[in-house]
């Protein structure tokens, strides 16, 4: 028989507990005393359950609880916790011995410099530079992608699949569906395995390592003040940084934010101004030779992020966010934990995203075959001209709707052909970053925020991206920032 710890509260609470117990007629898993205490503390789940099980006597129970509340100037939850705390202290005083360690050990020091803004911001930049730019950008999106794309897919798999369909499939339309330029295997699977997998994989490795060191709560407390200006609190830094990996996953994670207002703002900003790793990889490659264009793009997207966040927080009703967070000690990440987390995230990514890749390449195939795409592209040409880009960029933007990175990859081809000036590159990259989220993110937004909110966001983002691109182009031309 388990020995239970008895805790006696004051007379008012004890009496009310006994009265409530008398009213409880149904059978419960918990003891009736525990249930009475939970009811006094306003536990919503327990109230629902008792309401269902007790029927009419629930009214009487509510009366008892309300009567008790009148005796205290603080919520009963607090009163009960105080009593428990007192008891815990009595016990720990008796049995726990604490020896003071020296307070200035090395972990403490590192912990402190990550939290101090003067040293913390340079550390953040270092984390971003090595974690994101070097590891994800150069190693994942560069080295590994090049190897898988050029040395595996383009050298072996694509020619093999192309030959296979030419040899065995007599119908042209089916050949095109499986292989060649926009086929399921040669485009959809190639993109998923050779481009997205290495980028997202390296990002998830970097993110898991950073997560396991306990760095994220420190980052959250550093940015809390800035995030408050855009209607969020420091906690939102977690979905936001995750967005640099995959906006779709980040949109799902944004449900951990406390208020509906914060969730809406976070979803909007993720859809608008946070480029995912796949897009980042291609954009960084696109602008790599053009350092001024790269800086213009970073500054512009950051400004849009802050400006739209600020505006939304002013326009949206609701209570102001508050920030509280436990700061865990800094730890060395455990390899096995990092691997398991990365594995489960990649697995999620493939299960959720790979089908959408295939759908996207089927849609692109359909659009091309029927000439629908040519029509839409001709409609979009005036729009891309409006932001100072050549006609050919329209195709890249249309593809950007199917996958953010398809679009960026399309621009990459244009840049290689020398069709874009540095200014056009910066404008194109910025507009494309802001432009509608990919299909996967859009469907996740519908799932998490509802159809109405998702459509409203898309209806805002689509024109806004082009107007912002136009303004950027105008500023760059007027002040002769980029040729």
């Amino acid at each position: 028989m388990q020995k239970s710890l008895n805790l006696t509260y004051d007379e008012i609470i004890e009496n009310s507990i006994n009265e409530i117990i008398k009213c409880l007629k149904a059978e419960y898993v918990l003891s009736k005393r525990s249930i009475a205490l939970l009811l006094l503390q306003g536990d919503t789940d327990m109230m629902e359950s008792v309401k269902k099980n007790e029927g009419s006597s629930f009214v009487k129970i509510s009366d008892i609880v309300n009567e008790v509340k009148k005796h205290y100037d603080k919520p009963l939850n607090y009163i009960v916790s105080l009593n428990r705390q007192k008891r815990v202290e009595e016990i720990t005083d008796k049995y726990v011995k604490k020896t003071d360690k020296s307070e200035n050990n090395i972990t403490d020091l590192i912990s402190r410099i990550t939290m101090n803004p003067i040293t913390g911001i340079p550390i953040l930049l270092l984390v971003l530079y090595f974690g994101l730019y070097k590891f994800v950008g150069e190693f994942g999106a560069g080295t590994i992608v090049d190897f898988l794309e050029a040395d595996i897919f383009e050298a072996y798999i694509n020619p093999w699949v192309n030959n296979l369909v030419t040899a065995y499939i007599p119908w042209h339309w089916l050949q095109e569906l499986i292989a060649r330029e926009y086929g399921i295997v040669t485009l959809g699977i190639r993109y998923a395995v050779a481009i997205i997998l290495p980028i997202v994989g390296t990002f998830f490795i970097a993110f898991s390592i950073i997560e396991d060191t306990g760095y994220l709560p420190r980052l959250a407390l550093l940015v809390d003040r800035i995030f408050k200006k855009i209607g969020l609190n420091g906690r939102a830094v977690i979905p936001m940084t995750l967005g640099f990996g995959c906006d779709t996953m980040a949109t799902m994670v944004s449900r951990t934010l406390e208020t509906k207002r914060e969730r809406v703002i976070a979803t909007l900003l993720l859809a608008l101004a946070i480029p995912c790793s796949a897009q980042l990889g291609v954009i960084v490659a696109l602008l790599s030779g053009q350092s001024v264009a790269l800086i213009v793009w970073v500054v512009f997207v950051a400004l849009v992020f802050l400006f739209i966040g600020f505006l939304t927080s002013k326009l949206m009703p609701g209570s102001k966010p508050s920030f509280y967070m436990e700061v865990p000690p800094l730890r060395l990440p455990k390899l096995s934990n990092v691997l398991v987390k990365t594995y489960t995230r990649i697995q999620w990514y493939f299960v959720e995203i790979l089908p959408l890749f295939i759908v996207a390449s089927v849609l692109i195939w359909f659009g091309n075959l029927t000439g629908l795409f040519d029509f839409v592209i001709s409609l979009m040409e005036p729009l891309v001209n409006f932001v100072g880009l050549p006609d050919e960029a329209a195709e890249a933007f249309l593809f950007g709707f199917f996958r953010r990175d398809y679009g960026a990859a399309g621009l990459y081809d244009l840049q290689k052909a020398g069709a874009l000036s540095p200014r056009q590159l910066a404008v194109a990259a910025s507009t494309l970053t802001l432009f509608v989220p990919c299909i996967a993110q859009f469907s996740m937004t519908i799932k998490e925020r509802g159809t109405k909110a998702a459509i409203a966001m898309a209806a805002f983002i689509f024109p806004f991206a082009f107007v912002a691109g136009f303004v950027l182009n105008w500023v760059l031309v007027t002040f002769k920032v980029l040729p």
Binding site: G42, D73, K74, P75, N77, Y78, S81, L82, Q85, K86, E89, R112, M115, N116, P117, P217, A220, L221, L222, D224, R225, K228, N233, G234, K320, S322, F323, Y324, M325, E326, V327, P328, P329
Partner: protein, 72 residues
């Protein structure tokens, strides 16, 4: 008894009272084990308030920090 926001970095004390009737804030503070009688030490005050309370370190914004009264 003074407000946590008036404490300087490195100052120590004990939590005296949670001075708010906002159930949300109370619940948050209690869930992190911030209750009267617990020893507290301020680690930093900007950009967020960070303090050691009992065996945990906690970061909060000014609104929440000002709900904590401290005996020094």
């Amino acid at each position: 008894m003074i407000n946590l926001t008036e404490l300087k970095q490195g100052q120590k004390g004990f939590v005296a009272e949670l001075n708010t009737n906002d159930e949300n804030i109370l619940r948050k503070l209690m869930s992190m084990g911030i209750l009267p009688g617990i020893p507290l030490k301020v680690i930093q005050t900007f950009p967020s308030y960070v303090f050691q309370v009992g065996y945990t370190q906690v970061a909060v914004d000014k609104t929440i920090a000002s709900a904590i009264l401290v005996n020094i």
